[in-house]
């Protein structure tokens, strides 16, 4: 079976600094992969390369058979397949929740207004925020904003979802409500690549965990790997991080 996402020997430099030093891994369709590691280990950069928010110097990245590193890539087609949720939510502050969610369907897919509204209603139901449809982002808590951001991404029916430290800006209480939504998504069969500091989430929800260290995939395995680290680096990371 061909992978939903695959990285092959990916190298990425920011100026002189090499952030990714030959990263390779696959995500199978329907699989949930958690990427963990210290700040600066390259995990967020790897994620951002997958939907080409960053371009790579060498290697190959494929998403559902589409070569992401191809200069002729149809960027918009790639981004229709790949949803992304950010640490800082990045909701559009001048638009209501409904408008945030329906903007892309209306502009990109030319969905009529009434139908788009219906999409918003459904997407909000999935993240449990149906009553906030006409609120503005600033009227919501961080956790609610992040759930709207997830709904906004879902409304485009992506094949793969990327999560870039989506709970790092939230307090533990609000983190829980976001993780619950993500867990439900995972159970629903969404292909997910999740950069996270939430070890409990990685262990419980992820099919596979990738530990990145100094720009490389250092250790990879099922969630149990976190209980039984093989490398001293992962052992140290887990000891300090929890």
């Amino acid at each position: 079976m061909s992978a939903a996402v695959s990285l092959r020997d990916v190298h990425k430099r920011f100026g002189e600094v090499e952030v990714l030093k030959g990263v390779s891994f696959d995500v199978a369709p329907g699989e949930v992969v958690a990427v963990i590691g210290r700040s600066g280990s390259g995990k967020s950069t790897a994620l951002r390369c997958v939907n080409r928010l960053e371009t790579i110097q060498s290697g190959e990245i494929e998403v559902h058979g589409r070569r992401v590193d191809d200069p002729q890539l149809d960027l918009r087609a790639l981004r229709r397949d790949v949803g992304m949720v950010f640490q800082s939510y990045n909701l559009f502050p001048h638009l209501t929740v409904a408008e945030n969610i329906t903007l892309a369907p209306r502009r990109v897919r030319k969905t009529p207004q009434a139908e788009a509204r219906h999409i918003a209603v459904e997407a909000l139901a999935r993240v449990g925020l149906s009553d906030k449809i006409d609120a503005y982002p600033e009227q919501l808590s961080g956790g609610q904003q992040q759930r709207v951001a997830i709904a906004r991404s879902l409304a485009m029916e992506p094949k793969v979802m990327l999560f870039d430290e989506v709970t790092s800006a939230l307090d533990p209480h609000l983190t829980g409500e976001v993780l619950k939504v993500m867990e439900a998504l995972a159970k629903g069969g969404m292909t997910m690549l999740v950069v996270t500091h939430e070890m409990a989430f990685a262990r419980r929800v992820a099919d596979r965990v990738i530990f990145m260290h100094t720009g490389k995939v250092w250790e990879t395995g099922a969630g149990e790997m976190l209980a039984n680290p093989q490398t001293p680096e992962l052992r140290e990371f887990l000891a300090n991080g929890l």
């Binding site: 949803g83 950010f86 800082s88 502009r107 485009m156």
Partner: protein, 219 residues
């Protein structure tokens, strides 16, 4: 020698109208050109950014009066004789385009980059991202300085008087030349300018205050 009469005052009011016409023309055309300058200054292509920056630097570093002389007297020498109103409007348009372009560039770039990243991740084009996501946010920031700049433009229309265009300043010169009552005549002209500018300044300040509070009224 007669004194200042109602006829003179009506003449000044008519000239004030021309000042307004010139302001609207200059600011309207200047806004369109300024929008293009803003697009060029934030373009992805390096040479477009470079060329537009040179344009902005040249215009901002040149007195408006010199630009007006070049357009009105300069073009006449090479056979292009423009009516005074048109020459003044074009000069002011050029002046506006450079300043508004720069003001707006700053406002557009003050919208966090993550906003356009999020929009592009949703599959929006660069243009859709600009129109639907960036500009609505930039406009809120841009409104106070833009209205403030409008006041500058309105006052600078007085320079059109040197091209012989009869706006408020030129009209007061004409009246003063026959009455020799400079304090009275130019005082009234000043008051008329003030009557136009002051509400705009207040508006600009009010908008700024509203923006600094930075909060939308709860829906």
């Amino acid at each position: 020698m007669g004194g200042f009469t109602l006829v003179h005052f009506v003449y000044l009011l008519q000239a004030t109208l021309w000042t307004v016409v010139l302001t609207v023309l200059a600011f309207g055309l200047g806004s369109l050109a300024g929008f293009v300058v803003m697009l060029a200054r934030t373009a992805r292509t390096r040479w477009i950014r470079a060329v537009s920056m040179i344009y902005v630097d040249i215009i901002q570093g040149t007195p408006l009066l010199i630009v007006l002389f070049l357009i009105y007297f300069g073009l006449a020498v090479v056979g292009i004789e423009l009516p005074a109103l048109l020459a003044a409007a074009i000069s002011l348009m050029i002046y506006c385009s450079a300043f508004l372009g720069e003001i707006w560039r700053g406002c557009v770039q003050s919208v966090p980059r993550t906003q356009s990243e999020a929009a592009e991740c949703l599959g929006l084009t660069r243009w859709q991202t600009l129109v639907d996501v960036i500009l609505p946010q930039a406009m809120r920031i841009a409104t106070p300085p833009t209205v403030g700049f409008l006041v500058q433009v309105l006052k600078n229309t007085s320079l059109a008087s040197v091209a012989g265009f009869v706006e408020l300043t030129r009209a007061s010169q004409v009246i003063n030349n026959s009455l020799f009552q400079p304090f009275l005549v130019f005082g009234i002209a000043g008051a008329l300018y003030f009557a136009l500018c002051y509400p705009l300044s207040r508006l600009s300040r009010a908008l700024e205050r509203k923006l600094n509070v930075g909060r939308r009224q709860p829906a």
